[in-house]
């Protein structure tokens, strides 16, 4: 549990942000320059606020009214930096144990063997950081932060400097971390794919301010936040269960409350829960069930509302028996079809519009 409520001014940049997180992964999302890294630095004590309050698990790290300002080494905040920051003169083993030395008497979050197994770094222990790949460095950095027994783990765009295969590799390890280690994680990112794949809740930031916080699915469907989530990237998030894998066609059948989706190249196993991001621009609307169609996913639902947007296109919010879905269509189509709240419609989603990056473990 992290509570953050801080005002701070660094040079010409002003930050005035407040939010609280529960367990699991909280994504700090926003464009570069929104103040995400500044928030992490404030939590870790590497930047100094003007006023406010920061508490972790009821422990005050900073409180301007009470005059509390713990130094970084007393905060018990695990920080994984964008560029790893492994100590170059120490071996991987000594990097991992560096923080452990100071915190070994406290409650162990994880054991050394568990960390090396979880992150797959057991074979690297005697190497030096200069000889590691980018992905290996980040895994060691995560392990090092964990072994210092932190009460919260901060990840600052750990994938930013990695190529696509390495990104997938680290994402897999962060997912395991989230599921196997009971520690709240704050994950800074400007990639919606990562956020959707990893996070339970989301803090949306812009220009040093918090625009909204909440459940990722709920945030994604909030139309007023769309400009900040990226005009072409916004959409709904659906949690579904893998009900079938057809090896011949390469399609997986994913079932959820509102029906079923057929999607290619899903790596999850039968019965596993996955999270799928469906971009609004990939969803079409028909008022009668179409036939003779290449589109594989046709889902029945009703119109909830239409966003009163300026411009040539607008967002239609659909309800698929309890599951929210967003469709981005032209204003002209909306008026020609006569879309209005309560109208029963069919949502059409091309299977190939959902790529591997849009699917993650729930």
């Amino acid at each position: 549990m992290l509570e953050f409520d801080v005002r701070c001014r660094v040079g010409g940049f002003a930050l005035d942000a407040a939010f609280a997180t529960g367990g699991g992964v909280t994504a700090l999302f926003g464009r570069s320059g929104a103040g995400k890294t500044t928030v992490l630095n404030l939590i870790a004590g590497l930047a100094r606020p003007q006023s406010g309050r920061i508490t972790v698990e009821k422990r005050k790290l900073y409180d301007s009214t009470a005059g509390i300002d713990l130094p970084p080494h007393a905060r018990r905040v695990g920080y994984v930096f964008q560029e790893g920051r492994l100590l170059p003169h120490l071996t991987v083993r000594h990097n991992l144990l560096y923080g452990n030395f100071f915190n070994r008497k406290k409650n162990q979050v994880v054991a050394f063997e568990q960390v090396t197994e979880l992150l797959g770094i057991g074979h690297l222990l005697e190497r030096r950081p200069g000889a590691l790949s980018g992905g290996e460095k980040q895994r060691v950095a995560i392990g090092r932060a964990l072994l210092a027994n932190p009460e919260v783990l901060l990840l600052d765009e750990p994938l930013a400097s990695l190529d696509a295969p390495r990104k997938a590799e680290i994402l897999y390890y962060v997912e395991r971390l989230r599921d196997e280690v009971r520690i709240p994680i704050v994950y800074v990112s400007h990639s919606l794919d990562e956020v959707v794949r990893l996070s339970n809740s989301m803090v949306l930031m812009s220009d040093g301010r918090v625009l909204g916080t909440g459940d990722v699915r709920e945030m994604m469907s909030r139309v007023e936040l769309r400009p900040y989530l990226g005009r072409h990237e916004g959409g709904a998030v659906i949690e579904a269960r893998v009900a079938g894998q057809d090896l011949k066609s390469g399609l997986a059948r994913l079932e959820f409350g509102g029906g079923a989706l057929e999607i290619p190249d899903v790596e999850a196993l039968l019965g596993e829960q996955v999270r799928i991001r469906v971009r609004a621009r990939d969803v079409s609307i028909a008022i009668t069930r179409p036939a003779g169609l290449s589109i594989r996913n046709v889902l029945a639902g009703t119109v909830v509302d239409l966003a009163d947007d300026e411009g040539s296109s607008l967002d239609v919010r659909l309800d698929l028996h309890g599951t929210a879905l967003l469709a981005r269509i032209t204003r002209k189509s909306a008026s020609e079809l006569g879309l209005r709240p309560g109208l029963p419609v069919f949502a059409l989603i091309k299977a190939v519009s959902i790529d591997r990056r849009s699917v993650g473990y729930a």
Binding site: L86, H89, Y98, P129
Partner: protein, 233 residues
């Protein structure tokens, strides 16, 4: 021909002793000064910087003369040290070491400061978030990373001490066995008729000594650099 006479051995050993202690005594001071100049900003910083560098540009005789004024029997610091601690610098080998330390300090401070400026402060911040208090961070992160700079500075200041002449002869005079280091012995031989051969022998000795120091430090610096860069040795 190739064996050293007792007088030559005495001068050589004295030179090494003086150089060693001048480097050893000035190292902590130099690291502290370098840290202050690299990390802090305060009014008068450029003045401190200039004062540290003065011995580099002043005639060594001037430094020696000021040492004589300050650390002589009747000098303010000299009198105080003699009364309270019983330490005498004037006309002693300790005085020669002090003169060498002052003359070598700018070289040592410069080398250490340059590597301090080059240290990634992010690494120190990372160590702090892992629970390491500031002094511990300095000892386990900063020091190992600036080790190449420290070794370079130590070599420069060591070599400077071996060659120091003006400040030493002004401050502690030219006393065989006490303050007569190699350069002073060479000077003494050139002042007596027929001393040329002796002077030349000591000159060759000086060259061999300096070359050995250079090569030894080169090896050490290379090793420390590999370590600090994080490559597998």
């Amino acid at each position: 021909m190739w064996s050293l006479s007792p007088a030559e051995t005495t001068a050589l050993l004295l030179s090494l002793k003086v150089a060693f202690w001048s480097v050893a005594a000035s190292l902590p001071v130099a690291v502290a000064l370098a840290w202050i100049l690299s990390r802090l900003s305060f009014p008068g910083k450029s003045l401190l910087d200039a004062v540290v560098h003065l011995p580099l540009v002043l005639p060594p005789v001037v430094v020696g003369y000021f040492l004589l004024l300050a650390f002589g029997r009747r000098g303010a610091i000299g009198a105080f040290l003699e009364e309270t601690l019983g330490i005498t610098f004037i006309f002693r080998w300790t005085g020669a070491a002090l003169a060498c330390a002052v003359m070598g300090l700018p070289l040592l401070v410069r080398a250490v400061r340059q590597s301090l400026d080059a240290v990634d402060r992010g690494l120190e911040a990372a160590a702090a978030t892992l629970g390491a208090p500031p002094l511990w961070v300095f000892a386990t992160v900063t020091l190992p990373l600036i080790l190449p700079g420290i070794l370079t500075g130590m070599l420069l200041s060591f070599a400077r001490s071996l060659g120091e002449f003006g400040a030493t002869i002004t401050f502690v005079s030219n006393i065989p066995g006490e303050t007569q280091t190699l350069p002073l012995a060479i000077y003494a031989f050139t002042q007596v008729p027929g001393g040329d051969g002796q002077a030349l022998r000591l000159c060759i000795l000086s060259i061999v000594l300096s070359l050995a120091a250079l090569m030894a430090s080169e090896v050490l610096v290379r090793r420390a650099t590999v370590r600090a860069a994080g490559r597998d040795a």
